[in-house]
């Protein structure tokens, strides 16, 4: 006679895998609904091709090894350049926008002074072709829709541009020597208001005020129009104006989500060229997803094609999915194989084929 039992040890192992698989399956279905079909990304890629595209520092952070022919390869660690390399031919062959999604195991270790973070799974989407606020907003909307669909609430959206601080330094303080402009840009990047104040001591007052505001952690909405007004024609005005419009329209699309300017947005992967956004947990500030525009990556693979995309920090998201969103362990029928294993296994097989969960209750584990 079978008994109904649950196995907590096996359940906790299975729960983690089931949760991740359920989340990935649901996410890929959502992305497919948004017209982002899943693409398979190769496990290995030539190191030299990636290094040219993303730079020595970022390529050097990936796991590398040499094959039997002496070629250096990298293990899949950052999917965006791998996807770009693999599918650049589509961008050469087609004129319409290309959308791709991916969900793959990766190997990436991020190390700082006291922090080592392992990323083992990459889930994301890429949009190639249009260079417009509409395309940027599409990436943001799809990213937030994916997280909301997983049950995540209390999110914040932080939007910035990777060149904003360096452009502002060079444009608003043209009287500074190049080394001084670099120092000012560095002071802005670490938000050191003291150092920014020293660097801008001889700048016109409106420029100085704007740069001090740019060094703050929560700049006012007036900052971007002020930056545009201080430099009416040129790249700083273009960036500031486009960023202001993106923020305004992102707020209109996401009522109930705090949408904030992130003046310190960084090109921390080596290929971002413009918009950079992060979705963070409003309670802790932990990044749950991030993305941005990378218009100069595809040309490394012979495809002249602007691009924008995002990736989800799968481990961070899984840790925040509400418990009732996880599949429950409803127990399984356990069959005792003694004294008649044939009958027990035949019965277990019949139950399994009727879509029930079964187990075989061996009394002796036999482990030594």
């Amino acid at each position: 006679m079978p008994t109904l039992a649950t196995n907590p040890a096996a359940a906790s192992l299975a729960d983690r895998v089931r949760s991740r698989r359920a989340f990935i399956t649901r996410a890929l279905r959502l992305l497919e609904h948004w017209d982002y079909p899943e693409a398979d990304v190769p496990l290995l890629a030539p190191y030299d091709a990636l290094r040219e595209a993303i730079g020595d520092d970022h390529a050097g952070a990936l796991f590398r090894f040499t094959d039997r022919e002496g070629r250096m390869l990298v293990l899949r660690g950052d999917v965006t350049p791998a996807v770009a390399r693999q599918f650049a031919h589509l961008a050469r062959e087609r004129t319409e926008p290309i959308r791709l999604a991916y969900a793959n195991r990766i190997a990436r270790i991020h190390r700082d002074f006291a922090l080592e973070r392992t990323e083992s799974y990459a889930l994301g989407a890429e949009l190639w072709g249009p260079d417009s606020i509409g395309a940027d907003l599409e990436a943001i909307v799809v990213c937030l829709d994916l997280l909301a669909d997983a049950g995540l609430e209390h999110l914040e959206l932080h939007i910035g541009h990777v060149a904003l601080q360096s452009l502002a330094s060079a444009t608003l303080c043209p009287h500074l020597e190049p080394a001084e402009i670099d120092a000012l840009a560095h002071a802005l990047s670490v938000r050191n208001r003291s150092a920014v104040a020293r660097s801008t001591a001889h700048a016109p007052e409106p420029a100085r005020e704007a740069l001090l505001e740019l060094a703050s952690l929560s700049p006012s909405d007036a900052l971007l129009p002020a930056l545009a007004a201080l430099s009416p024609a040129g790249p700083l005005a273009d960036v500031a104006t486009r960023l202001a419009q993106t923020l305004e329209q992102a707020r209109a699309l996401h009522e109930g989500v705090v949408v904030a300017l992130d003046p310190g947005a960084r090109n921390d992967r080596g290929y971002y060229t413009g918009l950079r956004f992060r979705v963070v947990c409003a309670q802790t500030g932990e990044t749950l997803a991030a993305g941005g525009r990378y218009d100069d990556l595809m040309p490394h693979f012979d495809a002249q094609c602007p691009a924008v995309g995002f990736g989800v920090r799968t481990e961070a998201v899984l840790g925040r999915i509400p418990p009732d969103a996880h599949p429950a362990d409803d127990g399984r029928l356990v069959f005792d194989p003694e004294p008649d294993p044939v009958t027990a296994l035949a019965a277990a097989r019949a139950e399994r084929q009727a879509q029930r969960r079964v187990g075989i209750g061996h009394s002796d584990r036999g482990l030594r």
């Binding site: 006291a114 922090l115 932080h158 938000r191 003291s194 104040a197 952690l217 929560s218 947990c281």
Partner: protein, 213 residues
């Protein structure tokens, strides 16, 4: 509910000086006992509650880099040595020192500079290594955790690289400064990851300091 704003502060004199500096916002918590986490009601001044974490100096950037503390106060000597990925918001007008090379008074500095393998005692191996590498001088580093002056006094090493404030400890132990590597300051650091609410609270805290000329 949003977590309180956590500020990591080093034990000792810097703790007192920081509280005094930000007194208008943080108040002056008393009767701390041996508590390591001190809640402060800053909802009116900052819009969010605050917790002060009382830590060893070198642990402050660890908690901030991890994002466990959104803010910290620490010397630039620790930051330059460890190079944590944190924001450096503000230079504070107290706690300044200098990083210096020092040796026993009777030693010939020129002979030391020409020595093929100089032995150096320090709490700051990365800083010391970088300094002597710039000079093109080979060094053997001896890493000490405290009373670094003793390294040179007892002949364990030829010189030391250490933080100097008034210079009295060096003088009282028969050591002299040979050169200054850098001026060090106390800075307010912040985690790169933070919520919008914390960012606004921190901006308000910085504005209260009114040290920007």
């Amino acid at each position: 509910m949003t977590q309180p704003l956590r500020i990591a502060l080093p034990k000792g004199r810097l703790f007192e000086q920081t509280l005094t500096f930000f007194a208008t916002v943080l108040g002056q918590p008393t009767d701390l006992g041996r508590r390591l986490v001190v809640p402060v009601d800053t909802r009116e001044t900052l819009g969010v509650a605050t917790e002060l974490l009382i830590l060893k100096n070198s642990d402050v950037p660890v908690y901030v880099e991890h994002g466990v503390a959104q803010l910290g106060v620490v010397g630039s000597d620790v930051l330059d040595e460890a190079q944590p990925d944190v924001l450096r918001l503000l230079d504070l007008p107290f706690g300044s020192c200098r990083m210096s090379v020092a040796a026993r008074a009777e030693q010939d500095p020129i002979a030391l500079a020409r020595r093929e393998h100089l032995r150096v005692a320090t709490k700051y191996p990365a800083t010391a290594r970088a300094h002597f590498a710039q000079l093109g001088q080979q060094v053997d580093l001896v890493e000490l955790q405290g009373s670094v002056e003793l390294g040179a006094v007892l002949g364990l090493t030829d010189v030391i690289v250490d933080l100097v404030e008034s210079g009295r400890t060096l003088r009282d132990n028969g050591l002299v400064e040979l050169e200054t590597l850098a001026q060090t300051i106390v800075q307010v650091i912040a985690a790169r990851s933070m919520t919008h609410l914390h960012a606004r609270a921190i901006d308000r805290l910085m504005a209260s300091a009114e040290v920007v000329p």
